[in-house]
Symmetry: C2
Subunit: 161 residues, 2 copies
DNA sequence: GCTTATGGGTTCTTTTTTGGAACTTATTAG
DNA sequence: CTAATAAGTTCCAAAAAAGAACCCATAAGC
């Protein structure tokens, strides 16, 4: 499967990965959430080649995750800002960071602390059910084929065991 | 920056991406959560080349996300299972799937429905604060340098604006 | 006992993607 | 007139992925 086919797959994860499924894209977004907006600041902080950075930023703009906003005229200079759609990737990034904090940290601990403005505490993200607000883990979830997809695709799910 | 340097970066996202930061790895994990365990079933479902699949599975085993468990002797056959560490990637995958459901779905809607066994309802994941249990969005969080990291790395965070 | 199937790979060649460095363009500062 | 800045683009070499063929142990069919 090539990149171009990925956003047509019958799977929301594949489709999301068509947008953010390489390491540079997610690192660009991390920096966006930290307040970085300009091409050269991304370049300095990430250590990515300009070539690849330009490509990823363009793709993120095409998918509506970032917008280019002019911050000066003559010469025209534009910066990249998160859209609403981009902001909604925050839980995904937080979940990945949180996993890294738990499983990939060295003796210095987590490099970054997230303080919840609401309660003033250092927090980690917890996933709860949108319906009953209870915490959910992998074991608590039953997976079913979506309504619009019954019989559409052979083997959307593996045979039950 | 090359792949090999990624898991040493002063950033938990980089370190997590050293493990799962390419599209195939995350698609392999999606299938693990759906109950897939064997090499040839991954291959059939994903449309990945055997070469890349073998490489990704090996890496996931090295990082402790999957374990190889023999399911028959003579000839020896092994399957791949999620470890505790692997199960903890579930929130990250759910968050990515949920974003795809919202922003990348077509007129057929979400391909997969997640039913919370606890309450019996179709759910989407919501991120809440571990300390006060309130929902959190990007705007509700203040980012600070971690305790063990003060002064260690220049420019862990961009200059405040 | 010969052929084919199965599961889990490895090897080989071709194509695509990156990395790295130099070049471009518009404008201002010295 | 020269250099600097910001945001790219172009070019070539290196690395990674795609695609297909091959390998190995065992078992099942005939």
């Amino acid at each position: 499967m090539r990149w171009e086919e990925l956003d047509q797959q019958p799977c929301s994860l594949s489709r999301t990965l068509a947008v953010v499924g390489d390491r540079w894209t997610l690192l660009v977004l991390r920096d966006c959430f930290l307040g970085v907006r300009r091409f050269d600041e991304f370049e300095k902080r990430l250590g990515v080649t300009r070539h690849v950075l330009a490509d990823r930023l363009k793709k993120l703009v095409e998918y509506g995750v970032l917008v280019k906003v002019p911050y000066q005229q003559r010469p025209l200079r534009e910066e990249y800002r998160l859209t609403e759609r981009g902001l909604e990737l925050h839980p995904a990034i937080m979940a990945l960071v949180s996993w890294g904090d738990r499983h990939m940290a060295d003796e210095r601990g987590a490099p970054i602390r997230h303080v919840h403005k609401g309660c003033g505490q250092a927090m980690r993200p917890v996933m709860v059910c949108s319906e009953c607000a209870e915490p959910v883990s992998a074991r608590d979830i039953l997976v079913q084929v979506g309504e619009g997809w019954e019989g559409q695709v052979g083997e959307l799910l593996p045979a039950a065991r």
